[in-house]
């Protein structure tokens, strides 16, 4: 697995991104034609702007695609394995936290996330991590709920009435 990441070159990434953009552009153009891409009696039809913009984007993306296909940049996208490792170590907890939001609500999730990250990534001691995991939700709670009364996602415990958050 790691060697795959390290063999990824800038050229490959450029090509992939440009290809996605071209595909997206094509999709939008077909949708825009649906909506009407011409100039009606009262000015542009709804599809006019998406059409022209998608044309511009697709042509430019084709240009990038062509360039990266013919003269690919062979520099590796990730220089060392440590890059990928760090990225995943930071990115996956973020992903997990957002998935958890629906059930944990903002306050519980943020507390768990901070405590976990402090202990696991930052190598803080367990009681420091717990302290952080309580402090952050407490501050958020005071400011968002009591202070400005801004609605935030609530946990399943809240919805079933067990806990106030």
């Amino acid at each position: 697995m790691p060697s795959f990441w390290l063999r990824l070159t800038y050229g490959t990434m450029e090509t992939v991104v440009a290809f996605v953009l071209v595909a997206l552009g094509g999709l939008i153009i077909s949708e825009a034609v649906h909506l009407g891409w011409g100039w009606g009696e009262q000015g542009p039809q709804p599809g006019f702007f998406p059409f022209t913009l998608a044309i511009i984007m697709t042509i430019a993306a084709l240009g990038v695609l062509l360039k990266s296909w013919t003269t690919p940049d062979r520099q590796p996208f990730f220089e060392v394995q440590q890059e990928v490792v760090d990225l995943l170590k930071v990115g996956i907890p973020i992903f997990a936290a957002i998935v958890l939001l629906r059930w944990g609500g903002l306050y519980i999730t943020s507390g768990l996330y901070l405590a976990f990250f402090m202990a696991w990534y930052g190598k803080f001691r367990w009681y420091e991590a717990i302290a952080g995991g309580i402090a952050l939700p407490a501050v958020l709670w005071l400011v968002l709920r009591h202070g400005f009364n801004i609605a935030m996602p609530m946990s399943v415990f809240y919805r079933s009435g067990i806990l106030p958050f």
């Binding site: 800038y10 990434m13 450029e14 991104v17 939008i28 949708e31 825009a32 909506l35 009696e41 009262q42 000015g43 542009p44 709804p46 599809g47 702007f49 998406p50 913009l53 511009i56 984007m57 430019a60 993306a61 240009g63 990038v64 996208f77 990730f78 060392v80 440590q82 890059e83 760090d86 990225l87 170590k89 930071v90 990115g91 973020i94 992903f95 936290a97 957002i98 939001l101 629906r102 903002l106 943020s110 996330y113 901070l114 990250f117 402090m118 990534y121 930052g122 803080f124 952080g132 952050l136 958020l140 400011v143 968002l144 202070g147 400005f148 009364n149 801004i150 609605a151 935030m152 996602p153």
Partner: protein, 510 residues
């Protein structure tokens, strides 16, 4: 001068302990609101409006206004320190403010932003005091064609931003525009580019996207680069003390013309109904880059890139209140909410307010000056503490920033979908940044895309499909010409450079 006398009476009315107290309270609340990402000044004013029912009118108005001004200062902080824009109008300052922070100059960037915000607001306040009526009448004669022309200028100022990869910049602008068209069509009401998904009917709000591109994208980029350099080390260079404040004042004075022109631009933009601090900040940034001697430095930590948008957005915020008070036409969403407050307290905004309630109006205008002074002092003293925040250990910083991003995205429309959008654009932002796609044009196109298209189509409805309307109206015509010039100029520059290169080559050959 009569205006000055009236200002003095206003100041007198303001200078009671309770009114000053409420003003300060408003400023502090505004700073807090501005720091919270996603919760802009508008939300803060809206939330605290009911509280003001219990206050007497002058206190209520200066408190609400204090919240608004405070939020204009506060938004700078999260933009520069964490690359998480606290408000829509704090996005532009992030482009150069964040690189400055990474170079250890966070304090300099923040001080400069605060100082120039103050100067911009001050200039706008002076214009407000003496030219209230003529400017308000100007706002009245603005219709969709004029609006479109102004927004076209905003785009024109960004055309030169392509730098070394104009093709990629074009892709980003087109993509930003396309994102702004998703949702219900403004004129026909038909859903556009939703591909049958109900969730897409509400369209893409630019705040979650921007928070994702810059906030999460920044977090991921930092994570990937940690093996190279420890971020905490870089920020140790932030010295505490007056040094940076003095340096920032010097930077502002050096660029005095930029400050004044950005402030005037911001003020005029703010007066226009519909436009506000956000387009003003982008326009000022674009013009600053175009007229700078070192345009390539923008985006990498040019102090002009911090000065221009901050002067403009504070001036615009001040200007947007003007048509509300003078004509009863709110120049921005926040002004609209404040207008609701004015009604609530028993007054009717409009020309008669000036003559019938001079204490109220001029007390408010006096508070413009005072609350800005208060905000500036509070901010400057807090800057060292804020810069200290950058020294927090990485493992604590990252979750806090991510949580701030989540809060900011969710707060906009109470939608978990927006939070996912933030994450998706965070990953995209990381990839695009690495591949040298400029992100700023995407954001500008996204923010300004919908109002521009709306203005264009409204104008065309007015003229039954003829494009000539832009050139037939006395105000929009000169603006259109300037806009078109801004578009053509880079082209001419390229041709000129090519011709000169040819000539020097020929001369060398002889």
């Amino acid at each position: 001068m009569e205006s000055l006398d009236l200002l003095m009476t206003g100041l007198e009315a303001l200078l009671t302990p309770s009114r000053i107290g409420f003003m300060m309270l408003g400023v502090i609340l505004g700073l807090l609101v501005g720091v919270l990402p996603g919760v802009g000044g508008t939300t803060g004013v809206a939330i605290l409006l009911p509280v003001t029912v219990f206050l007497e009118p002058i206190s209520a108005l200066v408190m609400l206004a204090g919240i608004y001004w405070g939020s204009m200062y506060g938004g700078v902080i999260t933009s520069i320190l964490f690359a998480v824009p606290g408000n829509p109008w704090s996005v532009a300052v992030m482009f150069d403010g964040r690189p400055l922070a990474k170079q250890g100059k966070a304090q300099l960037a923040m001080s400069a932003a605060f100082v120039v915000s103050f100067v911009g607001a001050l200039i706008a306040s002076v214009l407000f005091t003496f030219f209230a009526v003529p400017f308000a009448e100007l706002a009245l004669s603005f219709g969709p064609p004029e609006m479109f022309a102004v927004l076209l200028i905003a785009f024109g100022t960004f055309i030169g931003m392509g730098g070394d990869a104009p093709g990629k910049a074009a892709i980003m602008i087109a993509l930003g525009f396309l994102l702004s068209t998703v949702g219900l069509d403004v004129v026909t009401g038909a859903p556009r580019l939703t591909f049958g998904y109900i969730e897409l009917l509400q369209g893409f709000h630019f705040v979650p996207i921007t928070i994702g591109l810059f906030g999460i994208g920044e977090v991921l980029s930092n994570a990937a680069e940690r093996y190279k350099v420890q971020i905490e080390e870089m920020t140790r260079a932030a010295k505490l003390g007056l040094h940076d404040v003095v340096e920032s004042v010097r930077a502002v004075v050096r660029n005095w013309w930029l400050v004044i022109s950005s402030a005037v631009l911001g003020f005029v933009t703010g007066i226009l109904p519909g436009a506000g601090a956000t387009p003003a900040s982008f326009m000022a940034y674009g013009i600053a880059q175009k007229t700078s001697k070192h345009p390539e430095k923008f985006g990498k930590g040019a102090i002009e890139g911090v000065i221009a948008p901050e002067a403009a957005n504070n001036a615009a915020g001040t200007g947007s209140i003007l048509p509300m008070l003078v004509l009863g036409i709110p120049g921005s969403p926040t002004a609209a909410i404040m207008m609701a407050g004015v009604f609530m307290w028993g007054f009717i905004p409009g020309p008669r307010l000036f003559t019938e309630q001079p204490d109220f109006v001029w007390g408010f205008i006096a508070s413009l000056y005072l609350s800005n002074v208060a905000a500036l002092l509070i901010c400057l003293t807090a800057t060292p503490l804020l810069a200290l925040m950058l020294r927090t250990p990485y493992a604590i910083m990252v979750p806090i920033i991510v949580v701030l991003c989540i809060v900011g995205s969710y707060a906009i429309q109470n939608s978990l979908l927006d939070v996912w959008l933030t994450l998706i654009f965070g990953v995209l932002g990381f990839i695009l940044r690495r591949l040298n796609y400029p992100l700023a044009p995407l954001v500008v196109a996204l923010v300004l895309g919908a109002p521009t298209e709306e203005a264009l189509r409204q104008s065309l409805i007015m003229s039954d499909g003829s494009l000539a309307i832009f050139f037939q109206r006395p105000i929009s015509m000169p603006i259109m010409l300037v806009a078109l010039l801004l578009f053509i100029l880079p082209l001419l520059q390229m041709i000129w450079r090519a011709v000169r290169a040819r000539r020097t080559a020929e001369a060398a050959g002889k």
